[in-house]
Symmetry: C2
Subunit: 513 residues, 2 copies
């Protein structure tokens, strides 16, 4: 058996089911092995940022590793931005990257690149197999590494000769680490603080934003008056009616400082203390009050749900959290406003949808506006590399074939990853893509004003993505996805309802004045 | 003056005229400085691989550095593949990459990434400025580094506070190094060998493929019977009628071995000895005969034209090379064949065009077929990262506004960089984009057969980019570029003639059976 076949068999034995791929010549033996061995679903992306971003969306929804197959240094490089977001989301991903044969590398052929160096920038674990016999063991370790809580990026680089040489045997799966528990003393100490009902804020991320995590957190809030909040961007969150309505920290530094003002105790569960997305002259890097006391209830790799439940129990909180009964909203008519859109989306969203959001300036108020939506899972951009809603939605739809996926993508970001639409068409994925067409890098206009500058020739040239306007209906058609334009929220509502009534990908270009 | 303004003034003083950009928040003060200071043309790309690939095309044609403006780690990462090609082309590029403020970096905000690590993978020179006062001097050095023969990638990383802090002053330009001459003794020694008229081959790259370089090389060939050849992929070459007709080394290893068989002396001028693009089981890594003697007439950073002229003079070759008088070809009709297409292109190409080629399997025979085209400059993919014809053509058209640019782009590769079309529309660039629509990663089908495998379910899934077919006319329309489909060479000829008769971008989707 050659190294490539031992790799495929090892991955399948380790429970891997899906491979997002954009292979090249150095991955040819891996593809040939996929032809021989049944058991891995291959999903092609026409650009690597789609491949790795889809793997992120898949991993967030499936709760298990996705595998990617990438072509040596440049192929991996094209996938780095989506991996950057995935790393910040603690997604479980195993990247398989082909490379020059071990003995060919010193000759520096044109495609030779610093594959390991590029991989290190976005991976928790990197290894290059050196012989065919190493491949299976290294692959089992890569899967184990990806499964290390809270979820890691593992990159296995396979020189071509390790794939084609014989003498390999598949390796058995390795047991992944389990999340470490939280010390009872720590829980008691935090409970003692919160019992005094100080002005406390609990920041929740990762598994703390699952339904059990949120319910436990709400019990703590009920018992102590502590506020609950998520970081600016979240990996995955159980949201909608019947679930605790937890808002997120605002992106603009001034608004974040307002929200955190007066907090005496900041309790962290699965997240770092909040810092600004960027620094600004005269504004602080860290956003919590200097006089506040920080408590780490649980680090991201610990058992977050158990920690919250232990704290709620320690506080003697009733088993059932108090969840506000929110009336279902009604669709709004007229031209686009962020408020009107959020309310309309909450009104029309189907039950059990998955929302992938990278709406940037059009989406800043979406969280509170959709508290009353039907129950859903909400995924966001996590590393700030825009354009991720398209591939996240694509991967989530591969993972959850029986759920409607709603992709909320700003137009500027969408142009980085528009190739995702082709994969949605190829795989007939059930995704409604909503493009916020404001025809500008609107966030940058705001940032320019924030630094006190007056817009001039260059910034107009660089922030305006009209002239010519992007025609998303044509772009979607070019990749086999049907679409339509909505100039008002009424028109949007009609298109959205129609798209919900059928299966398969659809795109709505929503005019944002 | 703040650091950003000192940077802009330093770049302008150093002769930089064009900035290809996709900025973000950390580059805001640089954009604000561009608003205040006149002198740099800003060209927006909607994906960074377009930005850096256009800079490559610009630098190859302008013979001077292009500047890029990129957004911290992920923005740079998106531009790495095009920089990989640019590095192999010895293009002169100065990347300006914004980053987290120096004091904000330790807080590990979401967009924080290993910017230096990513830059190192594709740069000859990397520096991070640490104060506003450093920025101008570092920028002057970056331009000097980019101009170091034969052309380098220099990446200057600017933490946001080095851009916004005051106290900076512009720095004067630094004199770039000049190409070192070739020792007369070496020229005499190689002349002595060639004079015996052995079976010699001279491989030419870089400036050796300029018209003066090629004419000198042809004189050597005339005097000694030596053959002339280029590597598989070239950065820029003066081609067409009235110029020496030099073919390139074939890509497939077996054919390359045939071409190099029997060579007794291999003379290198601006290139490394030829090696396989990839390794294959049972095939050699190095392609020249083991018994051949290698002569390095000049390394890439030396004065290649002077070296060739010195060798021709030493051999006593007549001043005028013998250049075959090739009859202008006639267009071919009927369905697409690589031969028919090449002949038709040679027949219809306007005088003094620039050709940017990443035609992959559709373009392998283009070189000999276009010997009889009108004089032109030909640019190719140089690092193997496909999709580069789109951005190369875009940048070349920015550099040479008075010349027609012909972009030969295979469809698989084109999907990596299709956003280039929008920049062509925005800047009204005079580019005819020809898409070879074979609806497959056809090169990979060949590679799979080459490794002895039988195509199966996975390879069909991964190499076929139809289902759904890409509709390039819609894709182009979506970005403001007019286009039309050609199902035959006759139809292609009509569309090409019409596109030549007007200015501005156009796209022809050419059906490749």
């Amino acid at each position: 058996m050659n190294g490539a076949e031992s790799l495929v068999r090892t991955l399948i034995d380790a429970g891997i089911e899906t491979c997002f791929a954009n292979p090249g010549t150095s991955e040819m033996h891996f593809v040939a092995a996929l032809d021989r061995v049944e058991g891995l679903r291959c999903v092609l992306g026409l650009a690597e940022t789609v491949v790795t971003g889809s793997a992120d969306g898949y991993a967030r929804m499936a709760g298990k590793p996705a595998v990617t197959l990438l072509h040596c240094g440049p192929g991996l490089a094209n996938g780095v931005t989506s991996l950057h977001n995935a790393r910040r989301a603690n997604a479980q991903i195993v990247n398989i990257v082909g490379d020059q044969a071990t003995y060919h590398r010193p000759w520096d052929a044109p495609l030779t690149a610093d594959t390991e160096g590029l991989a290190r920038a976005v991976s928790h674990w990197v290894r290059t197999s050196m012989t065919a016999r190493d491949v299976a063991g290294d692959a089992a370790m890569a899967v184990q590494a990806a499964r290390t809580p809270p979820g890691c990026i593992a990159t296995l680089i396979l020189p071509a000769d390790t794939a084609w040489n014989d003498g390999a045997v598949p390796a058995p799966p390795l047991k992944p680490a389990t999340p470490s528990p939280v010390a009872p003393d720590l829980v008691r100490s935090i409970a003692a603080t919160l019992r005094k009902r100080p002005r406390a804020l609990i920041m929740l991320a990762g598994a703390a934003l699952s339904e059990p995590g949120l319910r436990a957190a709400q019990r703590i809030a009920d018992a102590t008056g502590a506020r609950l909040l998520t970081p600016v961007q979240i990996s995955r969150m159980a949201r909608g009616r019947g679930r605790p309505a937890v808002d997120r920290l605002p992106y603009p530094v001034d608004r974040a400082l307002e929200v955190l003002k007066g907090v005496e105790h900041l309790v962290l569960c699965g997240t770092k203390p909040p810092v600004g997305f960027f620094a600004y002259p005269g504004k602080p890097s860290t956003l919590w009050p200097k006089e506040a006391t920080l408590h780490v209830l649980a680090r991201p790799e610990q058992d977050l749900v158990a920690a919250l439940e232990a704290l709620a129990d320690e506080l003697g909180a009733p088993r059932e959290p108090v969840i506000r009964d929110l009336p279902a909203p009604s669709p709004v008519t007229g031209r686009f406003t962020p408020e009107g859109f959020g309310t309309t989306l909450a009104a029309l969203m189907p039950e059990n949808a998955i929302v992938a959001e990278d709406a940037v300036t059009s989406g800043r108020q979406l969280f509170p506006l959709t508290f009353a939506a039907p129950p859903n899972d909400w995924l966001q951009i996590t590393g700030g590399a825009i354009g991720c809603a398209f591939p996240l939605a694509t991967g989530a739809a591969v993972a959850c074939q029986d759920r409607k996926v709603i992709c909320l993508q700003a137009d500027g970001g969408g142009m980085y990853t528009l190739q995702s639409l082709w994969t949605q068409a190829r795989e007939r994925l059930d995704v409604i893509n909503i493009i916020f067409a404001n025809r500008a890098y609107a966030i940058l206009r705001g940032e320019l004003t924030a630094v006190g500058a007056t817009p001039g020739r260059a910034s107009t040239e660089l922030f305006d993505i009209g002239r010519p306007d992007l025609d998303w209906i044509s772009l979607a058609r070019g990749m086999g996805v049907e679409g339509a334009r909505a100039d008002s929220l009424d028109a949007f509502a009609d298109l959205f309802r129609a798209a919900c009534a059928k299966r398969g990908p659809f795109l709505i270009e929503l005019a944002v004045p």
